[in-house]
């Protein structure tokens, strides 16, 4: 009897990106939205719905790329990101209110 084992998927290399916030620097992965990762780093971000419709967690995106696996219901102003559902795709710099 021969057993067929599925070829192992090549181990996915975890993509890590830097998030600059003022003088702080936080490392984030592409596995989760930005909001939870900022919170874990001890940064308070305003939030409410946490599913993309209330726009409370809108943060300035100074440079860099983020994507939305699901298009959020909230209007995202150009130059801003919605932390609860944005996946960081490159090093980015963000800012809260001026």
């Amino acid at each position: 009897m021969t057993s067929i084992s599925k070829p192992k998927a090549p181990e996915k290399k975890e993509q890590v990106h830097r998030v600059l916030l003022g003088k702080k620097q936080i490392l984030v992965t592409e596995d989760e939205p930005l909001l939870v990762q900022l919170e874990r780093a001890g940064i308070h971000v305003e939030y409410q719905c946490r599913e993309g419709y209330c726009s409370s967690c809108s943060i300035k995106l100074l440079w860099g790329n983020v994507i939305y696996p699901f298009e959020p219901l909230a209007w995202v102003q150009s130059g801003y990101l919605l932390a609860c559902c944005a996946i960081v795709k490159s090093d980015i710099e963000i800012a809260f209110f001026d």
Partner: protein, 377 residues
């Protein structure tokens, strides 16, 4: 001109602006100019709840044990919210339905207004539960000076738009002498300006004015008091967060000129006035906080902290519609409120303990017999 409940003209509604184009005829959603409004409808429907689902029996006992100045805080907020939702339960329909031109937006307006009527019914549910004579409370809404001052600012833009649209629908364009009101000029730019300011003031109503009450309700609940009320407020806050997205989309679509190029010009002209609407509302809400706490504060909250929260939330909302923020408060002074405002753990019925929006009778149609192959009894 004159409104028709079924416009006989043949036209492509995807080419119409959101407002002041053709009256909607066929309520069809297979083709949409702005699909976002259909998505908002779906979300709102998934949020459906009934006040009676929330048990308030312990709130009655809690309320009797509150100190007098805390009862004042609680009841005043309820009265204010009752006022706000009385306005919101009817005004989007009365003011916006006669001028809307897209079927998906028309239905969003109706869905939105309907959900506000649930809020109004929930206030009666709460008030009935905590006092013996609800009439005293409801009557005070039209006589209490602090409340009526607010009634004027939340209804004046709606009322002006309704008045102008009525004239437009009966008389058309021109300047008209209205007995008791003086001469009123009706032109498309004037109508559009009245509309833009109305949407801005509604955004302020739902995105800022509710939040002082929300904060107080949750501050009681932090002390495990009036928890049934807090559950209802959580459901209301979830709805309001969706509604404010609706008005943010309308404002941003108008300002972008993508929907109606003329509206972009008007939005630019109105920017200072809109800023003023936000600032004025924030100042009124701060005054309201002072009135609430006139006889004493409550644990965890006082007029100053609440005032800072109003400034903070106003900044957040101004930013969302592309306005420069205007208050110095850059941090949320009551960050614990977000744990109450978060909607993903709202529980109204046992079957939805984990998710707040669910579809009834969902079945997986892609199953076939082979899916049960490794299933033994």
């Amino acid at each position: 001109m004159s409104y028709s409940t079924f416009n006989r003209k043949h036209f492509d509604s995807t080419k119409e602006p959101m407002f002041f184009g053709e009256n909607v005829n066929v309520a069809r959603y297979d083709q949409q100019k702005h699909p976002i409004f259909e998505k908002l409808i779906e979300k709102q429907l998934s949020f459906f709840w009934r006040p009676e689902e929330v048990d308030l029996s312990t709130d009655r006992k809690d309320f009797q044990r509150l100190e007098e100045h805390e009862q004042h805080i609680f009841l005043s907020n309820l009265k204010y919210q009752t006022l706000l939702d009385s306005v919101q339960g009817r005004s989007p329909n009365v003011a916006l339905l006669p001028i809307v031109s897209l079927p998906e937006l028309e239905t969003w307006i109706e869905t939105w207004s309907f959900s506000e009527t649930i809020h109004s019914r929930s206030y009666t549910h709460i008030i009935r539960n905590i006092v013996n004579d609800p009439t005293k409370i409801f009557d005070d809404i039209v006589t209490n000076e602090e409340i009526t001052k607010r009634a004027d600012s939340v209804s004046k833009y709606y009322d002006r738009l309704i008045e102008m649209v009525n004239l437009y629908n009966t008389m058309g364009m021109g300047t008209f002498d209205v007995p008791g009101r003086g001469s009123i000029e009706i032109s498309m730019p004037k109508l559009k300006k009245a509309l833009y300011l109305t949407i801005a003031s509604v955004n302020v109503l739902e995105a800022i004015r509710f939040y002082v009450s929300f904060a107080c309700s949750f501050a009681f609940a932090e002390r495990t008091l009036m928890e049934g009320n807090a559950k209802i407020i959580k459901l209301i806050a979830r709805d309001e967060a969706l509604h404010l997205t609706g008005t943010q989309h309308m404002l941003n679509l108008m300002a972008s000129g993508k929907d109606d190029p003329e509206m972009a010009v008007i939005a630019a002209e109105c920017q200072d006035e809109v800023r003023q609407i936000f600032i004025e509302a924030a100042e009124q809400e701060k005054e309201w906080a002072t009135y609430l706490f006139k006889d004493g504060s409550m644990i965890g909250l006082n007029a100053q902290i609440l005032g800072q929260y109003v400034e903070y939330i106003t900044n957040v909302r101004m930013q969302a519609v592309g306005l420069e923020t205007c208050f110095a408060t850059k941090h949320n002074p009551i960050p614990w409120i977000n744990a109450w405002l978060v909607s993903d753990n709202v529980q109204v019925a046992p079957q939805e303990a984990e998710i707040s929006s669910y579809l009834v009778g969902q079945t997986d149609n892609s199953l076939d017999d082979s899916d049960f192959d490794d299933f033994d009894l």
